[in-house]
Structures are given as structure tokens and as C-alpha cells.
């Protein structure tokens, strides 16, 4: 057990322990106890910073399923470190904030349990080197996100939002799994580092591009890229700390992580460049454009997160050009885009986390997040106003805050890419800086909206009636720490660059030597360059558009409501539900007779069909043992009983005749010296008969069937076919010679399994896995019957909730 594995496991262990001490602990203490975990993990991780900055990496393998190449390999390098610091750092602040945000009347133990589950899963994603383990943790983050979004599960919107996010992210995850399997098929390894090592062999294979697309699908759905972003605004139904943590700082960045991690593999492809850059830019614009029209503060922040994720994504796309060009003094300049992406990743977590917490405070203290009902809160919530102001300035890209630095670098990267003449950048490359600039204007506008509509202007009278006041100190600590970082990073960006970003850069570009261009010196002032004019333009045009918003806001109504992505998503979901329901209803019609027909017909078709096509049937009566008279007697008894069964007039006769059949079979087992089978058959037969007798009171009186001759005829034919198929199989297998008999193996049972009774050694040893699972199935079946009978849907209305 190494520290890295422990870091992943500790949150899970804690999550498992919460229910145990929950009852003994006063409710208000749970949060404090839980807070210990991320804080200590964060501190442990910070001790790695100097060593990782020196270029060390840490890898440990726990052999899990070596025969399938699935091993629990942790790999801690610069890229993992950034993310793990964000996960534990923001995690600590969010838990601290939640202690004050959530009322102790809520089911806090569930909340913290899910949150820890998420934290462990997310750490697992960024630490795993094995694709399968990464995938498992990846889906676990979706599951914990689902649980957290639906935390207030009595609300319909929460449940719908949770389901939507689950549907979209898990579908993307499954696509990603297929992509991983393709990578495995091409490279023969599940280790990401080994795949990166063999990238030259892999990139020429035909599956390479499909694998690329599928992996990107996983990343895009998780990171809410257009057109999959629709789940993120709905996920805002979660409690605000969750939105701050999962849906802005960490989980949605898993896709970013994946793209950065796979840049060394796929980065050289033109498809990768245009998909990542294009989708990123489109998302950047679409998110910012839609944020402006929202009236819920959290919805604005949700779309803004979508937009910022697009920004980071497009930067990673721009940076991938360097992989294509290979290392040279002229190409290394393009790695600066990736540097900016990682830089903005951290910056975004700081200012967006603070902004979400700010919205949480407003919601908590005022009781609404609707900007149409807010206004003038500056005097009531002065500290919160400070948070909002600094956060929004940073998000809009204004100095002296960290967002300014990364925004400038973003502009610089978009401008420098237009100089390239590959990937047909020369023809449409000019669109890159143009879209980036337009999107930034909208970013500026919604930042202005957040600040001015909430905090400036006149206070609405109905707010004053509630006598609002500033949030408790506890709720202010976390956002103020983040705001402090926003300012600190602006003044000391190069410390961050040298210790945190530089090692991450060498993870993204493993073949590049660490040069000055790889970790550029970040200046707040770098002369009159295009990016500075772009920022000035953003501010001027942004202010102008904000001033005259009344006049152009109508353009949002131009888009038909019917064709929004959400409407399309709803239509696809409802229509697929309807179609599957109608198909299912067509054959699951509740008629037991029909079900029997399905089973028997498919049995006959498959088994008899196989026998016929393979010409497997062979029966030589001379090889069979002679039939004795007493055996014939038993056969006649059975024939008589089964014929009588068909014509039985009452159920009790039928049950007894059925019993006759069963006991006769038991006799056969005795004759053929299979005492185990005979015993089992006898006991089972007795128990079944008893069961029948108990069930009698539920069964209707046996009535002559009122079915047509045709139905009777077809039923008869099916029964005869089934009977003859079984008989023929029985005759054919006696002296079957196509395959070698496996029974030789079991004859050695005493030596292999320490038992003289072959039947039992098969059950308990050779095929113990079957037995074990059968036992489990038996229990499930028993419980199924129990619940069906005992817990009959007493409340019919609850069925669909």
C-alpha cells in the first residue's frame, strides 16, 4: 500500500464509515469530521510539489487482474498533481462552506458520503494509469454526481436533472470505453504510458481515428461541450456547494484532463486538432451567448462554466499543433496554448468556485437567485459584493486578477495560430481569434449582468421585508480564500508556473525538452500586442452592448423553441420510451400461454435447428444397454400419468399426476444408480407438491378451455416438437463421439478435491463458482417472491415515482 493508493482509498473508506458513526455524532459535527480528509490529503499532496517540479514521477502497481492486463496502477505526474490539488483543495473549501450552507435538518450523512465517494472517484480518475481502472472511476464520478444532483430528491427538477446528466455522461463514457478497447486492440496494453510510448505504431492503424473520436465523445460529454452541454444547466438543481465543486471545479474538468492526457497519443491528428479546437470554440461562444439571456444566477454561472470549459478545450486543441509539428525551436511556441489551458484551468476553479459560493450566499440570505427580483444588495451584503466583483472581473479578463493573464494568453494563442499553414488553417484559421473575441464580449456582458443586476441599483421592497443580513463568517471564509488566490496568482503567476504548470507541460509533451518557451514567463504587461487591443476592444464593445441591451436582446427570440437542443433531447427520450413500450407491450401481453410458446418455439428452433444443420444426430440402438422389464413398467406408468394429466378435470388430480411423474423419474435415478439425483428429485418433488397445495386457494377453478381448434392444434404440434427434440437429444448424447468426454477429469476427484463423491466435488469444488452464484440467485428469487407477496403495491400512485 503506497501513499498514492491510500490517497484514492481514504475517501472511500471514510464514506463507508460515515453511516457507522453518524448516529453517535451530533449532526453539526459530521462536516468537521469529513473536512479532515480533504485537508490532510491536500497537505500530503503539497509535499509532492517540489519533487514533481524537479521532474520526478511516482508510479506504483498493485496487481489486480494481470491475466487481463488490468492492474491498479497509480501514476502521479505534473498533470495528475494539478487536478488532485484542485480536487482536494476546492474539496476542502467546499466542505467547509457546506457546513454553514446546509441546514442540519438535511440528511447530511448522505451528502458527505456522496461527496467523499465523488472525491475518491475523481482522484482515481486522475491517478489511474490503467485505462480500465480509469474508466471505472470515471463512471463512478457520474454516479456520485447523479446522487448529488438528486440530493433534494423530493423535487421533480432535481430528479430530472440527475437523470439527464447521468444519461448523457454515461453514454459518453460507454463510447469512451469502446475507444479504450480499440486502443487496447491496437497497442496490446491498457497502460496509458505504454500507449504513449508506442504511439508511432498505433497511429497508422485503421482503428486509430475511430478510437480518437470515441475517446473525445467521452471527454466532450463529461466536460459539457456543445452539443452535450445541456445537462450542465439542469445539474444546477444540486445544492450550491455541489455545483461549485462538481459542476465547475472538478468533475466537468475530467474531460479536459482526458484530452490533455491523450494529447501525446492523438495530438498529431488533424481530426483531433479541429474537433477539440472547433468544438471548444463553439462551446465557448454558445455558452457565453446563452448565459446573457438567463435570469437565474446559477443558470448564468452554468452557461458561463460551459463557455469557460470550451475555452480551455479549444486551447488544448490549439496546443496539439505542437505535437503534430514535432519538437523544433519554431514549433515550441504553440505549446503556449496548452500552458494557457492549464493556467486557465486553475484560474477558472478559483474565480468560478468563489462565484458559485457567492450565489449560494445570495440564495441563502435573500431566498432567491432570480436577477429580476434582486438588486441593490451592495449595501446589505458588502463582503459578498466584493467576492462577486473580483470573481466577475477575473472571469471577464480584467486586471489585476488572474483571469486577465490567462485570457491574454488565450488571445495570443488564437492570434499566433493564424500564422500556421497546415491543417488548412490558412483558409479558415482567421475565424479562431474572431470567435474567441466575440465570445469574450458576451463573457464581459454576463459578468456585468451578474454584478450590476444583483448588487447595484435599487433594493426591491419585498427583499427588505425579510430583513436580510450578511452571511455568517463561516460561509465567507471559503470564497475569500479563493478570491485571495485570484489576486495572488495575478501577482505571482510565475511561482505557479514553475512549480505546478511546468511539470504538467512535460506530461502533455513528453517528447519535448523543457525549454523556456514550454513554460513562458507570464507578464501582466507585455507591450502593445494584438491581445491587449483585443482585451481593450472587449471592454469597450462589451460596455456598449451592455448599455444598449434592451435593443438587441430580441435576437434570442429568433431561434425557434422547437429546435433547441433541450427540446430535441426531450423528444428523443420520450419517443424512445414510447417506442420501446409499444414494442414490449406487443409481445409481453400477460398471457402465460404466449410466453410458453415463445420459450418452447425458440428452444425447438435453436436446439433442433443446430442438431439438423450440424448433422449432429446419430443413434445406434445396438450400443445402448438392453431395456429391462421393470424399466418398461416405469415407462408405462409415466406415459399413463402424462396422458391422464392432459385430460385431468380437477387441479388436485393434475398435481398428483405430476407427482407420479416426478417420483417415477426418481425411481429411474435409483435404478441407474444415481442416488444423489434420486434423493434430490424425491425431496424437490415433495416440496413442490406441498407448494402446489398451499397455492391452491389462489388458483381459479379449472375450466374447459374455450380455445379454437387451430390454437389447440398449434399448441399440440409445439408440445410434440419439444418432446421429440428432448427425446432425440437424450438418445443422441448417450454415445456421442464428436467431442471428447470431460468426465475423465472429474474421476480424479479424490486427489483433486478431496472427496469421493464426484457429484459433490463438482458442486463444491470443480464448479463451485456456479454453485455460489446459484445460491445467490436462489436468495434473490426467494426475496423476489417475498416482496411480490408481502409488499404488494399498496399505493398505486407511487408506482411511477
Amino acid at each position: 500500500m503506497t501513499i498514492e493508493i491510500a490517497i484514492i482509498l481514504i475517501p472511500f473508506i471514510m464514506a463507508a464509515l460515515i453511516p457507522l458513526f453518524n448516529r453517535r455524532l451530533q449532526k453539526s459535527f459530521i462536516g468537521w469530521v469529513v473536512l479532515v480528509i480533504p485537508v490532510s490529503l491536500f497537505l500530503i499532496l503539497t509535499t509532492y510539489i517540489p519533487r514533481i517540479a524537479k521532474g520526478e514521477t511516482f508510479s506504483h502497481t498493485y496487481w489486480w487482474i494481470p491475466s487481463f492486463n488490468i492492474n491498479f496502477t497509480t501514476y502521479l505526474d505534473g498533470l495528475s498533481l494539478i487536478f488532485s490539488l484542485l480536487i482536494t483543495g476546492v474539496g476542502s473549501l467546499v466542505i467547509l462552506y457546506s457546513i454553514f450552507y446546509l441546514s442540519i435538518k438535511e440528511s447530511l450523512h448522505h451528502f458527505y458520503c456522496y461527496l467523499l465517494l465523488f472525491m475518491g472517484a475523481m482522484l482515481g480518475v486522475v491517478f489511474s494509469d490503467n485505462l480500465m481502472v480509469l474508466y471505472a472511476f470515471w463512471e463512478l464520478t457520474s454516479v456520485s454526481s447523479f446522487l448529488l444532483i438528486a440530493f433534494w430528491h423530493h423535487r421533480k427538477a432535481s430528479r430530472a436533472g440527475a437523470r439527464k446528466s447521468m444519461t448523457i455522461t454515461v453514454s459518453g463514457g460507454v463510447a469512451m470505453l469502446v475507444g479504450f478497447l480499440m486502443l487496447y486492440a491496437m497497442s496490446g496494453t491498457l497502460s496509458i504510458r505504454e500507449i504513449i510510448g508506442n504511439v508511432d505504431e498505433i497511429s497508422e492503424q485503421t482503428l486509430f481515428i475511430p478510437a480518437l473520436v470515441l475517446v473525445l465523445l467521452g471527454a466532450f460529454t463529461k466536460s459539457a461541450q456543445f452539443p452535450f452541454h445541456i445537462w450542465l444547466p439542469d445539474a444546477m438543481e444540486a445544492p450550491t456547494p455541489v455545483s461549485a465543486y462538481l459542476h465547475s471545479a472538478t468533475m466537468v474538468k475530467a474531460g479536459i484532463y482526458l484530452v490533455a492526457r491523450f494529447t501525446p497519443v492523438f495530438g498529431g491528428e488533424v481530426v483531433w486538432f479541429w474537433a477539440v479546437t472547433g468544438v471548444g470554440l463553439l462551446t465557448l461562444f454558445w455558452g457565453a451567448f446563452n448565459a446573457v439571456r438567463q435570469s437565474d444566477l446559477k443558470a448564468i454561472l452554468a452557461f458561463s462554466t460551459v463557455s469557460q470549459l470550451g475555452l480551455i478545450m479549444s486551447l488544448l486543441g490549439l496546443g496539439s499543433v505542437a505535437v503534430h509539428l514535432g519538437y523544433s525551436t519554431s514549433s515550441v511556441i504553440y505549446t503556449q496554448a496548452t500552458f494557457a489551458a492549464l493556467f486557465h484551468l486553475i484560474n477558472h476553479s478559483t474565480f468560478k468556485g468563489a462565484l458559485f459560493m457567492m450565489v449560494g450566499i445570495v440564495d441563502h440570505e435573500i431566498g432567491t437567485r432570480d436577477i429580476r427580483r434582486l438588486g441593490g444588495l451592495m449595501s446589505i451584503l458588502p463582503f459578498t459584493f466584493t467576492i462577486a466583483l473580483i470573481g466577475c472581473f477575473s472571469m471577464a479578463g480584467l486586471p489585476p486578477f488572474n483571469g486577465f493573464l490567462s485570457k491574454e494568453m488565450f488571445f495570443a494563442a488564437t492570434v499566433s495560430i493564424t500564422n500556421l499553414d497546415i491543417f488548412s488553417i490558412a483558409s479558415i484559421g482567421i475565424l479562431v481569434p474572431v470567435i474567441a473575441w466575440i465570445a469574450s464580449v458576451f463573457t464581459f456582458i454576463y459578468c456585468a449582468i451578474i454584478v450590476s443586476k444583483t448588487f447595484l441599483g435599487k433594493i426591491k421592497p419585498d427583499i427588505l421585508e425579510k430583513n436580510p443580513h450578511e452571511a455568517p463568517v463561516g460561509m465567507l471564509i471559503s470564497p475569500f480564500i479563493l478570491i485571495g488566490l485570484v489576486i495572488a496568482i495575478f501577482f505571482f503567476p510565475n511561482t505557479l508556473g514553475a512549480y505546478i504548470l511546468k511539470p504538467a507541460m512535460s506530461s502533455v509533451y513528453p517528447t519535448f525538452p523543457a525549454t523556456a518557451e514550454m513554460t513562458p514567463h507570464i507578464y501582466a504587461w507585455h507591450g502593445f500586442k494584438p491581445e491587449l487591443f483585443m482585451t481593450i476592444g472587449v471592454i469597450l464593445v462589451g460596455l456598449l452592448l451592455y448599455r444598449y441591451m434592451k435593443h438587441w436582446i430580441k435576437i434570442y427570440r429568433l431561434f425557434p423553441q422547437k429546435w433547441t437542443l433541450n427540446a430535441i433531447y426531450e423528444r428523443v427520450i420520450t419517443s424512445s420510451e414510447n417506442i420501446s413500450e409499444s414494442i414490449t407491450n406487443r409481445y409481453m401481453n400477460g398471457n402465460l400461454m404466449h410466453y410458453f410458446i415463445y420459450i418452447y418455439v425458440s428452444f425447438v428452433v435453436i436446439v433442433a435447428g443446430t442438431f439438423l444443420t450440424l448433422e449432429a444426430f446419430s443413434w445406434t440402438p445396438s450400443l445402448d444397454a438392453p431395456v429391462e422389464n421393470y424399466e418398461l413398467l416405469l415407462v408405462f406408468i409415466m406415459i399413463f400419468a402424462s396422458c391422464a394429466l392432459i385430460f385431468a378435470k380437477s387441479r388436485i388430480t393434475a398435481v398428483l399426476l405430476n407427482g407420479v411423474l416426478g417420483y417415477a423419474i426418481a425411481f429411474f435415478f435409483v435404478i441407474f444408480r444415481a442416488p444423489d439425483l434420486a434423493l434430490t428429485q424425491l425431496v424437490v418433488e415433495s416440496v413442490t407438491t406441498a407448494l402446489y397445495l398451499i397455492c391452491f386457494k389462489y388458483l381459479a377453478e379449472l375450466k374447459p378451455e374455450k380455445t379454437s381448434k387451430r390454437v389447440k392444434l398449434s399448441n399440440g404440434i409445439i408440445s410434440i416438437l419439444v418432446g421429440s427434440t428432448v427425446t432425440l437429444i437424450g438418445l443422441a448424447v448417450i454415445n456421442y463421439e464428436k467431442f471428447e468426454s470431460i468426465s475423465v477429469y472429474f474421476e480424479d476427484s479424490y486427489k483433486l478435491a478431496g472427496g469421493k463423491n464426484i457429484v459433490n466435488t463438482i458442486l463444491g469444488d470443480f464448479r463451485a463458482f456456479d454453485t455460489m452464484l446459484e445460491v445467490v440467485v436462489l436468495l434473490i428469487a426467494g426475496l423476489g417472491i417475498y416482496t411480490l407477496i408481502k409488499l404488494k403495491a399498496a399505493k398505486k400512485g407511487d408506482a411511477d415515482t
Partner: protein, 140 residues
Amino acid sequence: MKINDVILRTVVKGVVFIILTLGVYLFFSGHNAPGGGFIGGLVLGSGIVLLYITYDLETVHRKMPFDFKKVAALGVLLATGSAIGAIFFDAPFLSQTDIYYTFPILGEKHLTTVTIFEAGVALTVIGTLVTIILSISEDE
């Protein structure tokens, strides 16, 4: 209407004892002779069911205050637990082992860990069987 079932009750008193003994015997004779967890469990279960059929639920429940759902769950726990247990001895999942041990009075006996597994099977069978029959017969 009260059914006069004196004969049944008297017979069952003796027979159940025999059935349960047979069940235990079958369970232990498992590995080298006909028997084992499944059959042993079935016989024991049917003995208990016979008791329930003959006497009313409350009477039997007073004498045997088990929740048979829990018995079944315990069985599954034993079966899977004995399977997982092997991992801690660095052996593959579901590995079993056995020794010969000479007891003071009983003499040399064959002890094997598969007995734990089989006990799990038996308990699950008993639990499930009785649960099913009880829940059907209790239903109004």
C-alpha cells in the same frame, strides 16, 4: 371448521425428528457419499415446512424464532465469504483445503473448508424454501 388432525400431529412429532436427523446426516456425509449442502438443506427445509403445515405458524414460530430471510442471507454470506476467504491465504478465489485430524474420541476425521461453503448452500436453501412457503401461506 377445525380439522381433526390428531393423527397427523402425532405422526409428525416422530417423523420430523427423523427427517431432521436425516438432513443433518446427509449434510455431513456429503463429500464422500450421497448428500451434501443442497440435499441436506432441502431435507431440513422440508422438515421445517412439514412442521409449519401441521402446526400453526405462531406455534412453530414461538419454538423456532428465526427470520428465515436472514437465514438465507447468512447462507449466501457464508458461501461467498468462504470463497473470498481463500484470497487472504494467497490462493485463487474459491480454493478449498482439507486435513485429516485425529479427534480424541471420534478417531481420525476428514475436515475440509468446503463444509463451510456447503453450510452456506444449505442455509440458503433452508431459508429460501421456508421464506417462499411461509410468505405464500401467510398471504391473505
